[in-house]
Symmetry: C2
Subunit: 111 residues, 2 copies
């Protein structure tokens, strides 16, 4: 099974798709609203949307003739959490290094 | 010019490269230390490392015969900031929605 994060980071590796997610963070939007600021054809926009939907970051529903897209907060949160977890590891490592240096200094002073 | 985030998210879209970053968050490592837990050839590991270096997430330096890799904290932070900025936008939108609903309720009660 494709890892959730593989799809999410692949989806976010493209500036058009990132700007769609940036727009959707500010509120739901129809496909044509998403396409308006883009310098590309509607089929190209829809292709990018399909990558975002496949990753789980974006969901869409069709009511009548309008398809509305929204950001999936839980998929977004899981990707953000990957960064947070790494940062915690990194900070713990710096803390350990700080403790080690402090102990080392005390040991030198005590000599 | 390739956007910094394009390269970083592309690099992170692969589970092997993510596990390398996870390892490096815990401290610098030589190429052979990074390769040890991986079920792949050393050339394959080096190819993944090259993608990570091209993205700016990882740096390496060679001392004698040992190449040591480290995580570039600033590149990591910029990618994490992309998520943080979206979350802030999202939360502001929820706050606006909350204010709107509260005002609406007050207006209904006042009638």
């Amino acid at each position: 099974m494709l890892n959730h994060l593989d799809g999410v980071f692949h989806a976010l590796a493209d500036p058009t798709r990132r700007s769609m997610v940036e727009r959707l963070a500010d509120g739901d939007a129809s496909v044509s609203e998403l396409a308006r600021p883009m310098a590309m054809s509607l089929p190209a926009v829809i292709q990018h949307l399909q990558v975002l939907e496949a990753s789980g970051l974006v969901r869409s529903r069709k009511v009548g003739r309008v398809r509305t897209c929204s950001l999936d907060r839980s998929a977004f949160d899981r990707a953000e959490a990957w960064f947070t977890d790494r940062r915690i590891t990194w900070n713990e490592r710096l803390d350990r290094l700080g403790d080690f240096l402090a102990d080392d200094e005390q040991a030198s002073t005590a000599k």
